[in-house]
Every structure is written in C-alpha cells, then in structure tokens.
Symmetry: C2
DNA sequence: GTGAAAGCGCTAACAA
DNA sequence: TTGTTAGCGCTTTCAC
C-alpha cells in the first residue's frame, strides 16, 4: 500500500506539503500546478492515509462509540442510523457496542477505553449494574454524552420529549373516553422511565383524574417483560379500560398476555405504546403508538460529542422538534371521525 | 496518561524490556526482580498501551468488522454475540456496521477499509447492490469471511445447516399430515435463500410429493416483506395447507396477512419458520420454528478470520453441530402425542 | 539479562 | 511557496 512518502516522491515534492494539501489546510498557499501534481499522484497510487499513524500523531482516532443495551432492539435502529449519519458526515466512524457485553469483561473494556481506541462515547443507560460500572470507568477517561438521561453535569446529554410523548398518548386515551388508565412503565429508576410515568400522571390530572398507582406495573422494554407486566396487571383484577405501555416491544408482549387471558383489545382494553416500529403495524390488533424523533436524537448525540471533542463545554439538549406524533391504529379502537 | 517510557523510568529499566515483559515474550529471560518491578510500575501508573502506536508498529489494529444488513434484526443478536465473544477472547474488538449504510458513502467506506482501521471483515450478504459494491471493495484489501454464502474461493465462509433446517421443518409439516406445503422464501438469489428452498423441495420429494412452484413466494426477512409475500400467496388462491417461512420476522408478518384475509392459523394454514426469536413465542398464534446455532456461527466466523490473519488459507466450514432443532408452538397445530 | 536505537506513517513547527 | 525535521508511543534487532 502506498504512503505519503510515495505520493510525495511521485509528485516530486516533500511530504509536508502533500499532507497539507491533502488535508486542505487553508493557511497554505500552493502553486496550482503543485496542487494538481499532488492530487494526481495520490489518485494514481490510490493513496489512503494510514489510520494508526494519523491517530498517533493527532491523538484523535476518528472513532466514536455508541453503547446501548440490547442493540438488536428495533428502536435503536433509528437512533443508530442518526448517529451513524452524523458521524459519517464529520468523517468519523461509529462503532456499536452492547453495554452488558462490555461490562462482562471489565479488563478488556478498560483497555479499549484507555488505549485511545475511541475518541468518545455515547451511552444509553438503563440503571443497571453494568451501566454504573461502564459509565464510571468511561467517564473518567473519555468525553461522553448520555441518551435520555441527565444525571451528571460533566457529561453532555440529549433527551427526547418523553414527557410529551407519554402525555400525548395518555391524553389520546382520555379523549377516547377512558377514565381508568393504567401504565406499564419502563423497568428501573432512570430518567426515561420516570419522565414517561410523569407524563402519564400529568395528563390524567389535567383531566381531573387522580393517577392510580394500583394501575401501574413494570413493563420493561422487551416482548417477554411486557408480557409479564401485563399478566400481573390482569391478575390484579383492577378496573382498567386502557393502558399506556412505555415501550412498543413490551406492548407486543402485552397483547399476547391479553389474548392468553381472554382480554379483548381494544374491546376490553385499549392499548397505546411509546415508539413506533415495523412490527407495531403487524400485530393483532395493530398497535397505536406515539412516535418520537429517534433519528434526530442519534444525530444530536454525536453532534454534542463532537462539540466536546472540539473543546466546548458539555451541553444538555432536549429535542422539542420534531414533536411526538400519534399514530392511531387498531389497539385503541376505531376513531370516530 | 502514562506511556511505556513512564513505566520504564519508574521501574528503572529500559522501554525495551518493559514492552517484552508486558507482552509476555517467551523468548526472554529476565530476572524475577526486574519482572516484578515492571509489573508494579505498570500497575501503579495504570498503564495501558496506546492503541494507535501499537497498531502503527505492528500493522495490526486488533479490530475486526462485522457488516450485516439490518443490524437490529433480532436474529443477528445471537450471531453478533458469538462473534463478539470470540473476538474478545482473542483480544480483538468487534465493530458492527450496516452494509447499506456503508454503501451509502463509498468514499468513507473505502477510506475506512484501506486505512488499516480494520484487520478484517465478516460479511453477511444478501445479494443486493450494496453487497456487490461493499464486498468488491473490501475483498481486494482485506481478509474476509462470508456468513452463509460461499461464492468465492479466496475468502473464508461459514454456513449454518440451512438445508437441514428447511428440510427438518418441512418434514415436520409432512408428519403433521400436510401434502400441499408452500414456501415463503428469502428474497434474492443467494446461497442461504437457495439452500433453504432446496431443503424444502428435497423433504417433499422424499415424501413422494412433487414440490409445486406455484406455492412459492418471496418472503424476505422483515415483517413487512413477510406480510406482502403471504398476501400474494393467499391472493393466488392456490391449495395450501401449510407454509414454511424462511425467516421468523417474515413469519410474524405472514401471520398478520392471514388474519387480514380470514385465514385461520393453524386451522386453515399451518406455519413454521426458520430461526427463533423472543417474539416468536409471543405472536398470535405462537410460532413454531426451527432453531439454528447462530451463536456458534458468529463465533466460527471470527475464528476463521483470525486464522486468516495468522496467515492460514481461507477455510469454508459448514456447522453441523449443534444440529437444527424444532420448537413446536401453536402455529403448526397441536401435536398429538 | 538488559540497553540503545531505528523506524512504523503521519503532522506541524520552523526554515529557507 | 516549499523543504526539513522532530516526534507521537510502541516493538524489535542487535549489541553489550
């Protein structure tokens, strides 16, 4: 493979200018002829700068990490795509990691983090033990930004309008005529979970309904967890005519639980979920959901990280636009219109 | 952060031995005292070798890429986990990429590939245009191994027993008493697709049934594609009492299509799918599937890649154990027993 | 047993 | 406008 020196030799100049020309150094005045000689030579040799050498020299590798729980959750698809897009457009490479996998091997993780293999890290925490470990280790060595989770001041964060989404969904249920509205909340004590719960409560209060904690269960964020949560709720034999499920996948499981227990959806129980996904349009019945700007969130998270790498102070941004939007399908019953 | 030189200074030795001791160079005889001084110093300074410097020197970065279509497909979860595990245990880092995202930006992709940022690439192709582009570019610059897809000789490959899986599933259907058995095949003309189709055909022939191509449609590998495929099959008004769907997610969509068209599953139509996933146990009705050793496949793929990096010839391996296993749930009807 | 030194490919400060 | 040079942190050969 060809090196800078090869290009310089072929172009008949020194490596110094080749580097500066190829990197489009503005503060450089070159003869046009030289410039083109260099470009031609680079083209001819199919020159690509060596990653390691550049990283060593610049002490910046151009790689940023995105660590999530359960990377194959379809929800992350959009977040990842957004992050990917932003990373690409700034010439960086995005690498995906699973938080639990990272925590499994603390040794390796520490090495990766401390070795300068990454310039920074975007983290989607969920309050687990792995989270604590991973973010403690990472935060003392790398710039970080947190997704939907704003505990520390020293790291950036970006939050979607989780409150608004839950609020909107709940209000929709109320408008449909429901009074006893349950909640399958995200599992754990973290910002996303709490804020979505708060949106639910607030919407109820605004409608003059006192939120009833007996109608709340943990719904998690997987099909299986959603199933279990709904089963609990059904077994509790409380009066509910509608439920807000804080996560689509959980809602898929919840649907199954209803079917297993003879609860008709939407006849006996209306269901609406937070987040959209391919599958939500194909369940029986199809799921009504509220859609959040996940792509934007991914994009913003790496933008904030990049800012920090430029030396700016960490920022906290809450995405207010595009706004959460309701997608009405079958699980909330037919809309009269 | 501390460097090798720092450690050497603190231990009162030269960087040379520090490097060799820390890397456990066998061909080195050191005084035990020296060795411990070095370890202590490294410990004290919390020394971690710099990734870039080491990569530059060794011309090996310790990073291997895994590129798939649709990374958030739950099927990949297992493959990825397996690959991850193998990579970790050999001290490498696995980075995930989406083939279509890569193909989007040929420039960046080429740069990543040629810059030595990756030691090798594991690729899950599906016969798309992106695939062709990506694998052409990559194959001339990097060692590669293909998942379930064995076209070239110059790259390694690992295949699951797709034939066996499809064969097993189809035989199950036959044993259940079905004669008219349809197929929702994977979209595209690639090995996985063709081999699964072949397994279906072969099982039928063995039972004295001539495979009927009128009963075959494209089912793709997403919920939406499966939906469309099944709709086509239903609209064709052919006589089918059972269908093998080549992918679970597609089967989820197929279920929806049946519901939409008044086709009762398993009453009117039995369905069995290839691959298992969390969701298959939560659909209505629950999906019967055949499970393939995906984790093993991921693991083997990076093992083969690592072998190539050691200078061995590319190998092709077909995973025969563990064998495909049937998981009977509801979509094939109750098993008499 | 251990040290010295060269050099991987690149960038940036300084000279010319 | 271009060339020269030092050095990023590490590994490895060769000398002592």
């Amino acid at each position: 493979l060809s090196t800078l020196a090869d290009v310089a030799r072929l172009a008949g100049v020194s490596t110094g200018i080749v580097s500066r020309v190829l990197n489009e150094d503005q503060s450089l005045r070159v003869r046009d002829a030289t410039r083109s000689k260099i470009f031609e030579a680079a083209e001819k040799l199919d020159y690509t700068p060596n990653h390691a050498a550049r990283a060593l020299r610049r002490s910046r590798v151009g790689v940023i990490g995105l660590a999530v729980h359960d990377a194959s959750n379809p929800l992350y698809e959009e977040i990842i795509a957004g992050a990917q897009a932003e990373a690409m457009s700034s010439g960086s490479m995005l690498v995906l990691a699973d938080i639990d996998a990272l925590a499994t091997n603390e040794k390796v993780f520490k090495r990766v983090i401390s070795s300068g293999a990454l310039d920074g890290l975007v983290l989607q925490r969920a309050g687990t033990a792995s989270d604590v470990l991973v973010s403690r280790i990472a935060s003392e060595r790398l710039p970080m930004v947190l997704l939907n989770d704003r505990t520390e001041a020293a790291t950036g964060s970006v939050a979607a309008d989780d409150f608004g989404a839950a609020h909107l969904a709940t209000r929709q249920l109320i408008e449909l005529g429901h009074h006893s509205i349950g909640l399958l909340r995200l599992t754990g004590d973290h910002m996303r979970a709490n804020v979505r719960s708060a949106g639910w409560a607030q919407a109820l209060r605004e409608a003059g309904i006192e939120p009833d904690l007996n109608l709340v269960r943990e719904g998690g964020q997987t099909v299986a967890q959603g199933y279990d949560g709904m089963v609990e709720l059904i077994r509790a034999r409380v009066r509910v005519s509608a439920v807000l499920v804080a996560n689509v996948l959980a809602a898929v499981g919840a649907l199954r639980a209803c079917a297993d227990h003879g609860v008709a959806v939407p006849g006996d129980l209306a269901i609406i979920a937070v987040h959209d996904a391919d599958i939500a349009a194909h369940t029986i019945p199809r799921l009504s959901v509220v859609r959040l700007p996940l792509f934007e969130m991914g994009r913003m998270s790496v933008r904030l990280l990049l800012e920090q790498l430029e030396g700016h102070e960490p920022r906290h941004v809450t995405l207010t636009s595009p706004e959460p939007v309701i997608v009405l399908r079958e699980s909330t019953g037919r809309v009269e219109r």
